[in-house]
Symmetry: C2
Subunit: 448 residues, 2 copies
């Protein structure tokens, strides 16, 4: 066994893990009718000691998870042999090195499959760093020195909106009364909202029942999927509003289904049932389009971000006042360090962050970022909620814990990204036990 | 042998082809110091007859070409079995089907590795369609019915700037005097500009010599790479200006090297040598940033596009007046059909299109799009030039022909994308004869 002084990354495991969620219509929306929630899962193996591994993944919805895995595999040679001390002392440098690789950069830059692959390995480094510090990620970040944290960020292309000096100032200010907020977080958790009632494939009866259940469980906000059929959306939203009463926020989510004109018209048609925000009204690339929608649909708020591919697009959404709510995703941009840049941009522009979550493991990851934001950056949970979906948490070693509509603060060191080995053995694609036996059944005889 | 009525796509070959260009510093710029020009190359095999194949590729600069190939391979099952008649009658539908795949869409949407993979297979379908019509691509497009061509385009997310009615009107107007312009094209070709003099790795002497040679060869515009060192750039640009005189346009290209402030400052410092355009001053994602740069550096023009990932971003660049010159790339967006949308947007906004080319095979492809634009859309070559770089054309069956600084119109049916089988056998990675023998040599003993 090596001492940590000589510990190195000795291998990178890349595993294609898929869950057959499409067969129960969990997660269906107007753009994604049949998602199979999947993870291109990464384990950084080190010779530090047998527990010292970095775990992370990027999330996909099925087909293409193999492409993600192939992209991650190309990064293996860049990681093997690196000093564990060095990468944990400066995880942002790993992101910067990979993002700047001149040949790989052509495949983006900083977007799509290659950026998500970088995200996965960089987050595994962050997981390793937090584990070595013996802290859950939220506390690892909240306890960090502002200068060090500011140095983790790549300011390229965002300096016109956020400089390193800005970051240090915001993070230093975030330290004021952080101990009080940490105590509050540990006592009360971080507010969540509930998406499970509103999948498009669900019947009205199921929407009403699950909406009422969510309120009974302590949630003060739910979300419904919209965008496939206007009459259906109006009926479902009214039914949910009647079921939960006027005091509960109901967000609606179009998953990029609309043009600008459609977004404005459709949101207007839903307005009498009082939607709180309209999420992803149109293409995540359409910055000016979101600005136009926001202007037209106020006081309904505009939210987006789960498909926004990097800090540069978020910067512009903020610069032109295109969004009321910024939705980070833990597994799309270039790692925790790029999400730090985005949280800092949001803080500077005074826009609340309400993370995207759900899928498989996204709740586990992103809770840490919001908890850090509360304790040591924005300092508030006002108008801030983390998405919650009650699927697939059982596959994680450190699953999220929801109490009375709040995420409880994780206490286990790391980023909560680790899956149970047994879950991987069953769901590894295509040779895990589930998929192998599934393939053995003729297609027309498979469940659903 | 099947009749065309029953002809189907029976297989999709995907080949990783790489050229060791980094060893001679060809193509070096401030962001890409060591590109190995590469193609993730696609052959659609059909049972129509043995000549009837669709060829295309997406371009990368080395590492990651295997990821592109893997992404293309995932599309194979979506293509095999399709009717050749059906896909050739409606190539845009193939693009639309693949772009809309709900699971693959998560990996973008419409950006990065997966979008480039779709581009490759869709362009192979367009190649097949033009070959079956017995026409080079430019003429296949120029002869097409405006209604049919307008139907090839996906208007999703651009309808606020370009409707199908707009497209039909522009394409119908483009038919006026098209025969005259076709005759002009066949007689004179399409104007080119020359980038080969200006790679960053070249000595001043080589820059001067190649610049003078370009002018002697009939080019009226050249381009220099900038952005690594300001003093070097000033010296090289002045040397080139002295060498070519005041009547030749010299574009400069920063390849995304700068922040907004740096772009404005650096371009200002170069202004006395009269650069015609500044290309890629900053991130291709920074729409608002380009608008700010353009406002500050006028009368130097702002050009971008080779890394702009789809029509939605181009739409916004045009909507907010961020660019003077729009640079399409033939192998990044979702196929000929998406480039049609971009050409139509440019025509509607009255912005000239000067395509990105070079790499391997990009000149061969993109010339067709500009020639179509001249004959049957914008109707002019004023302030329009196609980039030309004199590398690697010998690997193509139908290489570009440059005469007195103009691209000659191809006459061979198809998209000019086909490589010589012998070139593929040598440069297939890693098992082609060049790479296999290269790998057999110890790394420290390889050339350069």
């Amino acid at each position: 066994m090596n001492t940590s002084r000589t510990a190195r990354i000795i291998d990178v495991d890349v595993i294609d893990v898929r869950f057959p969620t499409s067969r129960e219509f969990d997660g269906s929306d107007a753009m994604n009718p049949d998602p199979d929630y999947s993870a291109a899962y990464v384990v950084l193996r080190t010779n530090a000691d047998e527990q010292m591994e970095g775990h992370a993944f990027t999330f996909t919805i099925g087909r293409g998870n193999d492409v993600q895995a192939a992209a991650i595999a190309t990064l293996r040679e860049r990681l093997v042999g690196l000093s564990v001390d060095a990468v944990c002392a400066d995880p942002g440098s790993v992101s910067h090195t990979l993002v700047s690789d001149s040949q790989l950069r052509w495949l983006g830059p900083e977007k799509g499959v290659m950026h998500m692959a970088i995200d996965a390995v960089v987050n595994a480094v962050w997981d390793l760093a937090a584990k070595r510090a013996g802290k859950p990620m939220w506390k690892f970040l909240a306890d960090a020195d502002p200068e060090w944290l500011a140095d983790q960020i790549d300011y390229r292309y965002i300096q016109d909106a956020l400089t390193r000096d800005d970051a240090v100032a915001l993070l230093t200010k975030g330290k004021d009364d952080a101990a009080d907020r940490e105590a509050q977080l540990l006592a009360q958790g971080y507010p969540a909202y509930m998406t499970s009632p509103g999948w498009l494939g669900y019947s009205d009866e199921k929407v009403v029942r699950l909406s009422q259940q969510a309120v009974a469980d302590g949630f003060t906000q739910i979300k419904l999927k919209v965008g496939a059929d206007l009459a259906d959306d109006i009926r479902r939203l009214r039914a949910a509003r009647t079921a939960v009463g006027p005091g509960i926020r109901i967000a609606v989510d179009a998953n990029q289904r609309w043009s600008i004109a459609e977004a404005i018209e459709w949101t207007g048609a839903l307005a009498d049932a009082g939607p709180y925000w309209i999420e992803e009204p149109t293409s995540p690339d359409d910055i000016l389009g979101h600005a136009a929608v926001r202007k037209a649909v106020a006081p309904v708020k505009v939210a987006t971000g789960e498909h926004v591919h990097n800090r540069i697009v978020f910067k512009q959404l903020l610069q032109c006042g295109a969004i009321d709510i910024l939705q980070i995703d833990a597994a799309r941009v270039g790692g925790v360090n790029e999400n730090l840049a985005i949280l800092l941009l949001a803080a500077k522009f005074g826009v609340p962050v309400c993370p995207h979550a759900g899928g498989v493991g996204l709740c586990e990851l992103v809770q840490h970022l919001s908890m850090f934001d509360f304790v040591a950056l924005s300092g508030t949970t006002e108008n801030r909620v983390i998405e919650y979906v009650d699927h697939l948490h059982e596959h994680f070693v450190d699953p999220v814990v929801i109490v009375r509509g709040h995420y409880s603060a994780p206490s286990r060191p790391g980023f909560s990204a680790q899956m149970h080995p047994g879950s991987i053995a069953v769901h590894r694609y295509p040779d895990g036990t589930f998929w192998a036996s599934d393939q053995a059944v003729p297609k027309e005889m498979r469940k659903n």
